[in-house]
Structures are given as structure tokens and as C-alpha cells.
């Protein structure tokens, strides 16, 4: 195998192209990088935890509060959020896993808002059995964009709790979700519309649809976002 270049930059672009915002987190080490990430929790009944899993391929393990949502994002407060990603041209790639449990949900999105604010967001949601919710046992493209409803992939519920690589591609007027590199059919969903303003990444472990015995548990071992 030959090498392509001495620099990572030139593996991605020629130097005549000015690189846009991009970041990668491998979620490896002894603790979450809190210079980059902020944590925000709702609910009560237990304390949310964000730990590096002591497991093969574990990555970051988030256990939510007993009946709330625990969020990793770039918004320490509503006035200090940092949103460098383009609402009409950006990509988010995440390798993640939801642990099977009733009322457990994992969702990852690009969003404009602090978790307590109204805003505009789009992402994927992996939802176990909640309360007969229409999203139960599905992996879906999910958003609150006006006029865009959730779009289901046709992935079987049997793969809901496996590790997958999710790719969200936001462009002007259209957003797509690809699971494990699938570009059509099973594991692929397309929605019309895009968020209304610039975005930051959010990774969420949620038990907010109902109580679990110990909060919802999710794992994240890779995230990459970039503007296109």
C-alpha cells in the first residue's frame, strides 16, 4: 500500500481548497472531554452518568436519569451554545448502540437549540418499546422541521440494539439517513426539508417515555461532523 500524502489535510482536500469546519471524537481515554462536550440532563430519580466504558469497543457510555433525557452537546447554556454546522450542508456520522430496555430511546441529531429551548433539529432515533408510541421498535429519521414527519427505515426490530454506523446528510431541502452505509431501501430514509439555522451535535440517551429500572443506556464510540 502506498501513502497518499504526508498530511491529513491533503488526504481530505488539496491545499487549494480551504477546509470547512470538521471534527472527530473517538471517545477513548479515561474521561469524557469536557472542554469539547457539555452535558445536560432532565428528569430525576437517579444521577445521569457519562463514563468511558471499560469494555472491548465500549466507547462512551451514557446512562440517563431514571425518567429523563441525558444529552451530550455543545451548549453549556442557552447563551453560550456553539453551532458551527451548516443547516443546508453538513454531515454527521455516529457509531452508536442502544442497550435493550423498555422505555429506552437513543437519538442523535444536529440541532439549533439549547436543550431547554425551542429550536430546529434533525437526526436519527432508535426507539425501544415505550408506551405504544408509533416509533416503537424502529430506527427512524426524525425531525421537528415544519412539514417533515418522521421517516422510518425498514430495518427489523431485531437489529435495534446492535452497533450501527449512522450517517445523516443535511442539504438544502433534503435530509437523508443511511445506516451501515446503505444508500437505498432497507436502512435508508429521506425527508424533505432542513433545519432553519446553524447547528451543533447532540447525542441523547433518554428514558423520558416512561420509567426504567436504571435509566436508558447508550454507547457512542465515534462521531464526526463536517460542513460540505
Amino acid at each position: 500500500m502506498t501513502t497518499s500524502s504526508g498530511s491529513l489535510y491533503e488526504q481530505l482536500f488539496p491545499l487549494t481548497t480551504v477546509m470547512k469546519q470538521r471534527f472527530v471524537d473517538n471517545f477513548s481515554g479515561d474521561a469524557l472531554d469536557t472542554d469539547r462536550w457539555s452535558t445536560n440532563d432532565t428528569g430525576s430519580g437517579s444521577t445521569a452518568t457519562y463514563t468511558m466504558a471499560d469494555e472491548v469497543d465500549g466507547g462512551l457510555k451514557i446512562t440517563s436519569t431514571l425518567n429523563g433525557a441525558s444529552t451530550l452537546d455543545w451548549s453549556p447554556t442557552d447563551s453560550t451554545k456553539k453551532r458551527p454546522f451548516n443547516n443546508t450542508g453538513s454531515v454527521m456520522i455516529v457509531t452508536s448502540k442502544l442497550v435493550q430496555a423498555n422505555y429506552a430511546i437513543m437519538y442523535c441529531n444536529l440541532r439549533s437549540n439549547h436543550y431547554t429551548e425551542a429550536g430546529s433539529w434533525i437526526g436519527y432515533i432508535v426507539q425501544g418499546v415505550t408506551n405504544g408510541n408509533s416509533g416503537d421498535n424502529k430506527i427512524r429519521l426524525n425531525s421537528n422541521i415544519s412539514g417533515m414527519t418522521s421517516v422510518d427505515t425498514s430495518l427489523s426490530s431485531s437489529v435495534l440494539y446492535d452497533w450501527h454506523t449512522y450517517k445523516l446528510t443535511v442539504s438544502s431541502g433534503t435530509t437523508t439517513l443511511s445506516v451501515d452505509g446503505i444508500l437505498s431501501g432497507t436502512g435508508f430514509a429521506t425527508g424533505s426539508g432542513n433545519p432553519t439555522t446553524r447547528l451543533h451535535p447532540a447525542l441523547v440517551s433518554s428514558a423520558s417515555e416512561g420509567a426504567t429500572s436504571s435509566g436508558a443506556t447508550t454507547y457512542f464510540r465515534y462521531v464526526e461532523c463536517y460542513n460540505t
Partner: protein
């Protein structure tokens, strides 16, 4: 092309990898500083407060990167760096490269530089291999490429007018020359003909420094940097 490892993106496993780092300057970090050095602000970068009271943080804009901003008092200065003026310098002065994506926010009444340095001080830029704008120099509105050794420096204008767009800057060092490129175009080569004794001969670190020269706040932003020995 796919690679089985990041190592093999750059070198076969038969080649012992040299020091190589990159940073994305993305996240939620921000703060202010009025003395000393604050370490670990983002991806293990530090901010040194040279003069006055200043601020820094990830920029809340599309493609915003990380911005350092001087205070409004005249001659406020701050420096992004690797944490300590005396240590944390690992570049090989005869075999290294740096690449950075940088943006100015103003073009007047300022002195700023970014690239490799042997010091984070505001005075002599020992062991520099960096781009610089100093609005007291002529031409005041152009990027200069500067190298130095033992506090003796050589500056050559790149002929490129400073603007407020993002650009990709690259500096290279070999045993016989240093060179600077902007947006993939070679602008200046410093060899023995024009910079004898004025090229780095000791280890450096990447720094980015901004000084206001008129009592008006000045900012500089970075959204990517890569430094490696060759």
C-alpha cells in the same frame, strides 16, 4: 482508497511514525483571561495572556472555528499555544510541516502571527516559521512570511493582501530552506541566499498571537491545524 489504520494513511508499518498531530477546534469551550496561562482549553491547547485582559472561545458561527480576541485597551496581546513557553516543543527544525486554516476579522491596527515559534512572548520571535501582519510595516496590508534564529529575523512580503476570508496557510522547514504557502500556492522560500542564519535551529511549537495596536479589540480565528515532522 481505504486504510486499515490511521498510521497506514501516512506511512507503512515498516516506517516508524514521527510526531504528528492535528486539531479541529470544535466544541463548546470559551473563557476570558487577564494573566498567566490557562491550560487545557480545548484539545489540550492553552491560552497565554501576554498583556491586558483578553478572551477566547469556539465561535458560534457556521465554520466559525476558535477565536482569540484582544481586549480594548491599547496593546492587549494573547497567544494560543501548547501550554508552556519552555517545554512542549517537539518539531524538528530541519524536517517539519505545519498547516492551518486561519481567518482575520480586521485588517488594520494590529500585529498578529501564526505558525511555529520557539516562544510565546511578544518580543523577539525566536525560531519562527510563521506568517505575520504588522500594520506598522510596509506594506501594512500584506502578509509577511518570517523566519528567525537567535532572535534574528528575516521577513519577506508574500504580496498577498490581508483580507477577512478563511485561508489555508502552510509552512515547511528543511535543512536548507523554509517556505510558506497560501491556499496551496508557494509564496516565499527562505534559503541561504536570503535568510542565512535566520532560519530555525531549535524545537518549536505552534502558536497564534494577536495584538491590538490602537485600543480597539482585534480577533483571529483558527479552525484546523496540523503539525508533523517529516
Amino acid at each position: 482508497m481505504t486504510f486499515p489504520s490511521v498510521h497506514e494513511m501516512f506511512d507503512p508499518l515498516t516506517t516508524v511514525r514521527k510526531q504528528h498531530t492535528w486539531s479541529w477546534f470544535s466544541g463548546s469551550s470559551s473563557g476570558s483571561i487577564s494573566g498567566g496561562t490557562t491550560t487545557g482549553i480545548l484539545d489540550d491547547w492553552s491560552i497565554t495572556n501576554n498583556v491586558g485582559s483578553n478572551s477566547y472561545g469556539v465561535n458560534d458561527e457556521v465554520d466559525g472555528g476558535f477565536k482569540i480576541t484582544t481586549g480594548t485597551a491599547s496593546n492587549c496581546v494573547l497567544t494560543l499555544n501548547n501550554g508552556n513557553n519552555a517545554t512542549h516543543k517537539w518539531t524538528d527544525p530541519t524536517n517539519c510541516v505545519w498547516i492551518a486554516v486561519i481567518k482575520q476579522f480586521q485588517t488594520t491596527n494590529q500585529k498578529c502571527d501564526f505558525g511555529l515559534r520557539g516562544t510565546t512572548s511578544t518580543g523577539a520571535t525566536n525560531n519562527a516559521n510563521h506568517f505575520k501582519q504588522h500594520t506598522s510595516w510596509s506594506p501594512s496590508d500584506e502578509w509577511f512570511y518570517e523566519t528567525s534564529q537567535n532572535n534574528t529575523a528575516k521577513e519577506i512580503s508574500t504580496g498577498v493582501t490581508v483580507d477577512t476570508a478563511w485561508h489555508t496557510f502552510k509552512g515547511e522547514q528543511s535543512s536548507s530552506s523554509c517556505s510558506g504557502s497560501i491556499d496551496g500556492v508557494l509564496k516565499v522560500t527562505m534559503d541561504d541566499t536570503n535568510a542565512s542564519g535566520k532560519r530555525p535551529n531549535d524545537r518549536q511549537q505552534f502558536t497564534m498571537q494577536m495584538q491590538n495596536l490602537s485600543g480597539v479589540s482585534r480577533s483571529l480565528a483558527i479552525r484546523y491545524v496540523e503539525v508533523y515532522n517529516t
